[in-house]
Symmetry: C2
Subunit: 233 residues, 2 copies
């Protein structure tokens, strides 16, 4: 997850900026992912694993992701849910239909245009739009529960923005979209975890209003240790 | 959560033990909770809040628990799920029917009988049994998701054993039941959190095969900070 930080120094030529003295519009849209988006979600999950230096732990395939994230019994917001954030140089069509979630659109004014080296790979596969649309990031979340509040909440498992789109507020937009959805559903909390050495991310989350709870540790039972419980009654 | 520890010194009179030189049988059963169990779950949640010195944060009512844990759309193991552990001095009826989960029974041989000061309050409200059945604890859990594994898992929100039944293996039985269910469903992980100063609990969890992940911190967005996202787009 990209933390809030100043924009990077310009990498484009001065000529380009002289030809375009106005800010560069980047149209963004957050929408619910569908099974058609699985190949791009799969690619971003593997990019995230590389970034976290945990590639060896990432065994997700397009098939296993599709079967677990987009099975017919999987109802958005009641189970595993993925928001994608898409970007385009042209406005998004207002006719895009999504039965479970009204897309959230926002226009960013950037000082410099984004140079996306993986444009062809991340071309959005859903919807008919005026111009080319690219997937820039995703957030995966699902309901959790607080017994003290007797209310559901959302737990965010992953928040990822592709490298060339970082430091432009897209991560904040994704997190805000989950928080807004939680409020609308009357939920009590949004929770996630962060690595304790990732001070930029911690600063970013605290600025967004989150408490970083210092005393709690995550316990995980997995692999052979978990399988050992199969026949233990 | 009670950690594995030696049994407490005897509090019963020597006469009682002389009259009962055989071990004391305690029949136990883990079953799915239903909405009828809400009053006892509610009482245990408040006992847990007192134990954790967080009573002021516990606003759960019987009504709010019932509405969120046992709504018609709430399918066990696909959403919020509660296992209860019950105890009885007589064997449980083999005729108990539970459509979604085969109850797990175990006979404990105790050196001393349990003196339950709240027997009347925690009399089980479900099922026709030979003798009196009491609710001794619960575990509340729900699916989570690992993108790296592309598999669901279970997250345990609460594990609670009533004070007079601690240090007899009931917590381990509840945790094992969740792990066993996870394996049967092909899930990849069981996770929960523990307070870093609770070294007895950490030792207990590690003995059960769990890894305590030292680098991760839980972030929580709640209360007014969460509500602030209602109108922020």
């Amino acid at each position: 997850m990209a933390a809030a930080a100043p924009p990077p120094p310009p990498t484009d030529t001065p000529e380009l900026n002289m030809n375009n003295p106005e800010p560069h519009h980047l149209f963004t849209r957050i929408r619910l992912a569908t099974s058609s988006d699985t190949p791009l979600i799969h690619k971003m999950i593997h990019q995230m694993a590389v970034f976290e230096r945990l590639s060896d732990q990432c065994v997700a395939t397009e098939q296993s992701l599709s079967a677990t994230l987009f099975s017919p019994t999987n109802i958005p917001f009641q189970s595993f849910t993925v928001f994608l954030i898409e970007v385009s140089k042209l406005p998004f069509s207002p006719n895009f239909i999504s039965p479970n979630f009204k897309p959230i659109s926002k226009i960013l004014n950037l000082e410099y245009p984004v140079n996306d080296p993986e444009e062809k790979v991340f071309k959005s596969l859903v919807g008919q739009e005026n111009g080319d649309v690219y997937v820039a990031g995703f957030v995966l979340f699902f309901p959790n529960y607080s017994t003290f509040l007797a209310k559901p909440g959302f737990y965010i498992e992953d928040l990822f923005v592709r490298e060339c789109y970082r430091r432009k507020g897209l991560g904040k937009m994704l997190l805000s979209a989950v928080a807004k959805q939680a409020v609308e559903m009357g939920f009590g909390r949004v929770e996630w975890v962060v690595l304790d050495w990732n001070i930029n991310a911690i600063k970013f989350y605290e600025e967004m209003g989150a408490n970083v709870m210092k005393e709690w540790r995550v316990c995980r039972l997995t692999g052979d240790a978990l399988k050992g419980y199969a026949d233990n009654g």
